[in-house]
Symmetry: C2
Subunit: 356 residues, 2 copies
């Protein structure tokens, strides 16, 4: 299936999943780990978060080949208190470490009402909504955030000082009883958006990015670093996330990179998962009813554009997921080309739709 | 002391504190509670957060007189799990309930590594940085958020749908070993800023507010409701805060107001305090050193304006506090007039500086 307008090729979820699992298995992951990482990436595609989907597969393989991502990690889960875990991730793929972390946080929350799992030294954590939404399906409120290296301007600075650190929060029981899933980066715009504008030669809106010299720019050829969302709020949030993850885990990322140390040049991430057990505070049925009621009230607000009633966080992703589960995942020509190269390099069979 | 340029009157902290405590005592608060509420408000003034300072005193008195704020609350603290408290605040003044909540969260964190206190049915929670900074001085990471009634546009809607719900995060050990304190509302701009623009007849920047019909406006006379920070990110965060506080506490605020129920017309708030005990995860000395290191790295970033190096969250407030602790709290003419009226009404002696 190919879309004439965009050149995108739709690949059925099942065959795409099989292919990506085979790629990771070829790089040494256990079948279980390959399935977990693949599921996190394809979940993002299903929900329309194509920046965090299978487009990342070549980079994951590269990180493994460079030794920054460990395909066979020895993960050490330490219970540091009755409600708290500290996970030495041994450079595990992010979805392995973060899935384990959210499961651990949920287990701790069953005992303590709230549970936290701090993940030290993982790699790209993928779309955080994947982990928090899982908590919501288990009767918990889920919170996750993760830290990486400087790639966003710090407010008042002419250079990258913090990362576009994401924050995700999920709760059960929105419209159609589907969890409400917020997943936001702290940047006003993503790096992906800057790259897209460069490719399409589209001018950017003012206030989104600075150039290599730190000057504000709307020129897509010059835009280098995104600005934080809401100025000091976005870069302040990103800085606090570094403190809450990397500094607490004893694995600082920003300081090492800003000071240009050897360690600061490696791809590394840290993350946190928190779960709150709703049943300790209120009847979960009542919670779900009130969450649905609130979602309905949001839908009923007078719309800025009458064709598009206001949506709750994650609702657009739910709708996309219902469509793509049937129609397949559309891949852009560059992503399709990357996957073809990978198939050739690793001698793995491509999904039929990607064969030329 | 009076500033000729602004008409502001500086009042020494001690005499302002004595006056405000006397106001709250006259409305039935115990000496201990009056001191606590006063300290939270004056702390905000000391740090330059004048929107959450003693300007609120007349409103607090009004809320007590209306029966929405309870000057003599019967607060019930329930341990719902080893790491979790649920606090029935009985319409206590926000600073009473939230101070108790953060103390409780810290106590729970000493046992479980992480602790949470959910506050049901309090009133105006004042500046959240006051509570999270306290946690940071006790060797914890502090997180707080609070929910109130709709006063901010929901993304994609032409009307208020959520509140400018604030989020605060603090950590020990920034520059000069002072805690790093982030305290942000989820609006792109505060209601105070809209009111100020109206008084000064200053046009607003585009993208800050809508009018009563829901149209974007820069006219200060028409600006009615602030827009969320970063569009869907800000209103999404505010919606999640309602779920994490009000819905979890069984005291929904947004739905009642949006549906126009009788309950929805009353002033009510809910809040959450979370503490993470740093010592369970890492040597607190190492944490503080790394936090200070990071603060130095932020200061060293190339500045957009060479006269103003980038600051860490709360640093501006620290500097203001050092100044105002000596020079006193500057009060604008309308705030001074409000306090004079209150003194007359309650037959309480004014600070000498406010006497006419």
């Amino acid at each position: 299936m190919s879309s004439a307008a965009t050149g995108r090729i739709s690949v059925p979820v099942g065959s795409l999943r099989q292919f990506v699992e085979a790629v990771f298995a070829a790089r040494g992951m256990s079948a279980e780990h390959a399935a977990c990482v693949t599921d996190a990436l394809i979940w993002a595609n299903l929900r329309g978060i194509d920046t965090h989907g299978v487009n990342r597969v070549p980079r994951y393989v590269e990180l493994i080949d460079l030794g920054y991502m460990n395909a066979q990690p020895s993960i050490d889960v330490q219970e540091v208190a009755i409600g708290s875990l500290r996970i030495e991730a041994d450079r595990a793929p992010g979805p392995i470490a973060m899935t384990l972390a959210m499961e651990g946080a949920i287990d701790r929350a069953r005992i303590a009402g709230i549970g936290i799992a701090l993940v030290r030294a993982t790699t790209h954590t993928a779309a955080l909504g994947y982990y928090t939404r899982h908590a919501a399906t288990r009767g918990c409120l889920g919170i996750a955030y993760s830290a990486s290296q400087p790639n966003m301007a710090y407010h008042g600075a002419r250079a990258a000082g913090v990362s576009t650190s994401p924050l995700s929060i999920s709760a059960p029981g929105g419209a159609d009883a589907s969890p409400i899933v917020l997943d936001i980066a702290s940047g006003i715009v993503s790096h992906g958006r800057l790259i897209q504008a460069r490719k399409l030669k589209q001018a950017l809106e003012p206030g989104l990015a600075i150039d290599r010299e730190g000057n504000p720019t709307t020129d897509p050829a010059l835009a280098h670093v995104p600005l934080p969302m809401a100025g000091p709020k976005g870069s302040g949030l990103a800085l606090m996330i570094e403190l809450l993850t990397s500094v607490l885990a004893g694995n600082p990322l920003l300081a090492e990179s800003l000071e240009g140390t050897a360690l600061g040049k490696h791809h590394r991430q840290n993350g946190v998962c928190i779960a709150i057990d709703i049943a300790r505070f209120i009847d979960p049925q009542v919670f779900a009813q009130e969450a649905s009621r609130l979602a309905c009230d949001i839908h009923a607000l007078p719309a800025a554009d009458s064709a598009h009633p206001p949506l709750t966080p994650g609702e657009r992703g739910d709708r996309m997921m219902a469509v793509r589960a049937h129609s397949g995942i559309p891949l852009s020509p560059p992503v399709a080309a990357d996957l073809r190269n990978l198939a050739q390099k690793l001698a793995i069979a491509l999904p039929a739709e990607l064969e030329i």
